[in-house]
């Protein structure tokens, strides 16, 4: 028996479903990137380490609990200011595996130099 997916009736039903917004995910709809929330405060990032995959697009949502911080990692093209009262979003698609050290590059006080987050790309 021919499946609905390949029969003419199946195609018609699919078109109808799509028109009504009933099509399931993966059928013509863009996938939302995985979201990872990162919070900054003097003098640490939380989480301290995140894991990504080569080729996977993720969205980092950056917030601060106190003052303005920065998030900088040249190999992954991350160079953002994290401003109080606002969520900063950055899209990242790693191209190479590795263990990367992201730093705060907005001078924030005595412990600024030790403020880091590790990004592991597998």
């Amino acid at each position: 028996m021919r499946s609905l997916a390949t029969s003419g009736m199946g195609a018609a039903l699919l078109a109808l479903a799509t028109g009504f917004g009933l099509a399931g995910s993966g059928v013509g709809a863009a996938e939302e990137p995985r979201v990872i929330a990162v919070s900054a405060k003097r003098f640490e990032f939380s989480p301290k380490e995140i894991t990504l995959k080569v080729g996977e697009t993720v969205k980092l949502q950056l917030t601060t609990e106190d003052v303005t911080h920065g998030l900088f990692l040249k190999p992954l093209g991350i160079d953002e200011e994290i401003v109080p009262g606002k969520t900063t979003e950055v899209i990242v698609t790693p191209k190479a595996a590795g263990r990367y050290t992201t730093i705060c590059d907005h001078f924030c006080g005595a412990g600024h130099g030790g403020m880091k987050m590790t990004i592991v790309v597998e």
Binding site: D105, G109, G113
Partner: protein, 323 residues
């Protein structure tokens, strides 16, 4: 004469800083004298020999074992030199930051007390992030003046650049525009010395040893054939050609960082009671009999005692076709 050998540089690293001698080969050489006259006509001021001393990262107020002893001793050493330097340049992190009310201003005053003992005719400064990163440089400017500026000395054009006051490691568009206007007054042969705090190239970005618009700054300097950059921030000596310019870092006067090329973590090299000035740029340290501090046994290390060709050090190639 080979124009490449026109400017010789002999350097003496006293460890606590770096001494640069900028010396056109003028004496007893008619061709050299003619070249100097032509250069003088081009630059507006004829180059004559003089010396510069660079001190960096004194971090007055930082709670280390030595306090300000290395800084104070460095001042004594500089004052004991004959001849003394024409200029002393401080390349940032004069003080260590603090948020205690009134304390940062007190540290800047303490810095000035110690630096004020220098017998050098002229002393110039640029801020480090610990001086100016938290308040946009407001307190620093009230004590030391502008964070970026330029001046001329005996045929050399000195440019102080601020890559810390914007809190991020960058010079910024406004200052780059000022730099472009400042440079426009000079011919391509003018000897230029840039002094700043952070490296203007990517030395170790994950240790924040970079300036994000450093390439833009160096592109503005690209038409100028005689460019040398002096900087601090990294608490160790370093010499690297980046682009067409030679970049020199001076050691700190409080603690040292490890070699960025073979070290994973940026951890301060521990203080060694037996050799308290070790890694603070003093190349040879002898422990005193009393065990306190160290007698400074200064080793003369020539940054470049021989004539150089090419574009290393201050012996920059003069390529003016007019010469």
């Amino acid at each position: 004469m080979d124009r490449r050998k026109f400017l010789t540089v002999s350097g003496i690293s006293l460890g606590v800083g770096a001494l640069y001698t900028m010396a056109p080969r003028l004496a007893g050489d008619a061709e050299g004298a003619e070249l100097a006259r032509q250069l003088g006509r081009q630059n507006g001021e004829r180059p004559v020999p003089f010396t510069v001393f660079q001190l960096s990262d004194t971090h007055v107020g930082w709670d280390g074992a030595l306090g300000t002893k290395a800084f104070e001793r460095a001042v004594e050493v500089v004052n004991g030199l004959t001849p003394g330097p024409d200029l002393v340049l401080f390349t940032g992190d004069l003080t260590h930051d603090t948020e205690a009310p009134g304390e940062h201003a007190a540290r800047m005053k303490r810095f000035q007390e110690i630096a004020g003992r220098l017998k050098a005719p002229k002393v110039y400064h640029v801020p480090g992030e610990h001086d100016a990163g938290l308040d946009g440089g407001e307190l620093y400017r009230s004590v030391f003046g502008p964070t970026f500026y330029s001046f001329d000395h005996k045929g050399f054009h000195f440019i102080a650049l601020d890559n810390v006051s914007r809190a991020k490691p960058e010079v910024g568009a406004e200052q780059r525009a000022w730099l472009a206007r400042d440079l426009a007054r000079f011919p391509g042969t003018a000897p230029i010395v840039v002094f700043t705090h952070r490296p203007l190239f990517d030395l170790r970005p994950d240790w924040e040893w970079f300036t994000s618009d450093g390439d833009d700054v160096m592109n503005l300097l690209a038409p100028y054939q005689n460019v040398t950059v002096l900087y601090g921030h990294i608490h160790r000596e370093h010499h690297q050609m980046a682009g067409h310019a030679a970049h020199y870092a001076a050691r700190s006067l409080c603690f040292a960082f490890p070699d960025p090329q073979n070290t994973a973590d940026k951890k301060a090299i521990p203080f060694d009671k037996a050799e308290p000035f070790k890694n603070l740029g003093i190349r040879q340290v002898q422990a005193s009999a009393a065990g306190k501090g160290a007698t400074l046994s200064v080793s003369e290390v020539s940054l470049d005692a021989r004539e150089l060709s090419g574009t290393e050090g201050f012996n920059q190639l003069l390529k003016s076709p007019a010469l």
